[in-house]
C-alpha cells in the first residue's frame, strides 16, 4: 500500500512539474465546447439537445489524447525497465499510474464540465448526471486507454494505432455516459445508467491491470 502511494506521489509530482500534461486535455475539452456552437448553430434549444453527446465525445477524445503519454516518458528514459526488474508488484504500480492519469484528465474534466454544460444550455437538472457519469465513466477510459498505451509504447508513432485499438472499447462507455446525461437532463431516473457505468468500471478495474502489466512486459521485452 505504501508503494502504491509512493508511485502515485511520484507520478503526480512529475505531472506537476510538466503542467502542460494537465492543461492539454482540459484545453482540448474547452476548445471543442467553444468551437462547436460557432460551427453549427448557437440556438439554445439545439445546443441543449446535442449537449450530452458533444460533451461526452469531447471528454472521451481529451482522455484519448492524453493517454498516449502515460508510459512513454518512463519507457524512453529507462524508468520502465527499472520498474520491471523491481520486486514490487507491477499491478500496483500500473494502478497508481492509471489513477494519476485519471486525476489529471477525467477528474479535472468532470470538475470543469458544469462550465461547458452551461455554454451548451444543458438544463440544470442534468448537471448531477453529467458530473456523476464523467466521474464513473472516465476511469474506465483511462484503464482501457492504458492497455493501448502499453501496447504501443515501443512504437515510434503509436498515436494512430492507439486510437484504433482503444476506440472500440470506449464505445459502451460513451453510449451509457451520454445516455445518463440525456436521461438526467430530462428529469428521468439515472440510477440504471450509473449502475451500468459502475459495472463497466469494476469489470475493467479487475481485468485491465493484468492486461496493462502484460502489455508493458511485451513492449519492453521485445525491444
Amino acid at each position: 500500500m505504501s508503494f502504491f502511494f509512493a508511485a502515485l506521489k511520484r507520478d503526480l509530482l512529475l505531472v506537476f512539474r510538466h503542467r502542460n500534461d494537465i492543461i492539454n486535455p482540459l484545453a482540448f475539452f474547452l476548445m471543442v465546447a467553444v468551437l462547436f456552437p460557432l460551427g453549427i448553430s448557437p440556438d439554445p434549444e439545439f445546443l441543449s439537445e446535442v449537449a450530452p453527446g458533444v460533451i461526452w465525445v469531447a471528454a472521451l477524445l481529451a482522455c484519448l489524447l492524453s493517454v498516449d503519454g502515460i508510459f512513454r516518458g518512463d519507457y524512453e528514459d529507462g524508468s520502465l525497465e527499472q520498474m520491471l526488474v523491481s520486486p514490487e508488484s507491477l499491478l500496483v504500480l500500473v494502478l497508481a499510474k492509471v489513477l494519476s492519469h485519471w486525476l489529471v484528465s477525467g477528474f479535472c474534466l468532470a470538475v470543469i464540465s458544469p462550465l461547458v454544460a452551461m455554454m451548451f444550455f444543458l438544463p440544470e437538472q442534468g448537471y448531477p448526471a453529467l458530473i456523476m457519469s464523467l466521474i464513473l465513466g472516465t476511469p474506465t477510459l483511462s484503464l482501457m486507454g492504458a492497455i493501448g498505451a502499453g501496447l504501443t509504447v515501443g512504437l515510434r508513432k503509436g498515436g494512430v494505432l492507439i486510437s484504433l485499438l482503444v476506440l472500440p472499447l470506449y464505445i459502451p462507455v460513451l453510449i451509457f455516459g451520454a445516455g445518463t446525461v440525456h436521461a438526467g437532463s430530462m428529469g428521468l431516473p439515472i440510477q440504471g445508467y450509473l449502475a451500468l457505468l459502475g459495472a463497466i468500471l469494476i469489470f475493467s478495474l479487475m481485468l485491465a491491470p493484468f492486461a496493462i502489466a502484460a502489455t508493458l512486459k511485451i513492449s519492453v521485452r521485445s525491444r
Partner: protein
C-alpha cells in the same frame, strides 16, 4: 550465483550467440566484450529478464529463474545504458523513488550516496539541468546504496570523467570483496584493484 545454459539468441535473422553457457560466481567480475552490435546489451537484458528473444535456461542459485523471479529481483541491481533518471525530478527525488522500487537500496542514506558520487550540493537541482555525466552519476549513486549481491551494469562508465571511473572501479572492488558479483560491459580498460576480471568475448562465441 547465476548460471546460463545453452543460450541461443537471434536478432534480425542474425545469430548473436548459440550454445552459450556462462557461470557467474560470488566475488567475481565478468566483463562482456565484443564489437558494437555483438549482443552485449541483449545478453545483459536477457540476464535481467528484460528480453524474451532467446531460448535456453537461466538459473539463479540453482533454481530456474522463472520460479524465483521475485527473489532474483531483490538480489539483483541493473543499471542499463538508459539511466532511468527523470529529468524533471531532482537527484534526491529520483533516488528516493528508486529506493521505493527496490528495497535493497539501503546501504547508506541518499545524502551519503550523492556525496560519494560528487553531487553534494546538487540534491535540489532538477536533473535536466545537470550535465550528462552528472545525470549518469545520479543513476550510479544506486551502486553506493545497493546491498544486492549481483550487479548487472551496461556501459556504466559512459560520460563519466577519469576520476569518476576510478571511484566506480574501487566501488566494484569493494563489492566483490564483500562477496558480490558484477557483470558489466564497457569499452574502458577496466582495472579493478586486487581483482582479476574474467572476459567473455561475444565475437568468439557467435557462430557465423
Amino acid at each position: 550465483m547465476l548460471a546460463v545454459k545453452n543460450l541461443f539468441c537471434e536478432r534480425d535473422e542474425r545469430v548473436l550467440f548459440a550454445n552459450f553457457s556462462l557461470q557467474i560466481n560470488a566475488a567475481e567480475v565478468v566483463q562482456i566484450i565484443g564489437q558494437n552490435g555483438s549482443g552485449k546489451t541483449t545478453l545483459l537484458r536477457i540476464l535481467c529478464g528484460l528480453s524474451d528473444a532467446y531460448t535456453g535456461e537461466i538459473y539463479w542459485q540453482g533454481t530456474d529463474l522463472d520460479e524465483v523471479r521475485e527473489e532474483y529481483y531483490q538480489a539483483m541491481l541493473y543499471v542499463g545504458h538508459l539511466a532511468g533518471v527523470k529529468g524533471s525530478l531532482t537527484a534526491e527525488e529520483n533516488l528516493r523513488w528508486m529506493m521505493q522500487l527496490d528495497h535493497s537500496l539501503n546501504k547508506c542514506s541518499i545524502a551519503e550516496a550523492l556525496k560519494q558520487v560528487g553531487l553534494f550540493g546538487f540534491e535540489d537541482v532538477p536533473c535536466h539541468s545537470l550535465s550528462a555525466g552528472q545525470q549518469r552519476r545520479v543513476g550510479l549513486a544506486r551502486l553506493y546504496l545497493s546491498s544486492a549481491p549481483l550487479w548487472i551494469l551496461d556501459e556504466p562508465f559512459t560520460a563519466l570523467d577519469k576520476k569518476g571511473v576510478k571511484e566506480k572501479e574501487a566501488l566494484i572492488a569493494r563489492h566483490t570483496q564483500e562477496g558480490g558479483a558484477v557483470i558489466l560491459t564497457t569499452h574502458h580498460d577496466l582495472t579493478i584493484p586486487g581483482q582479476t576480471i574474467r572476459p567473455i568475448d561475444l565475437d568468439q562465441v557467435a557462430v557465423a
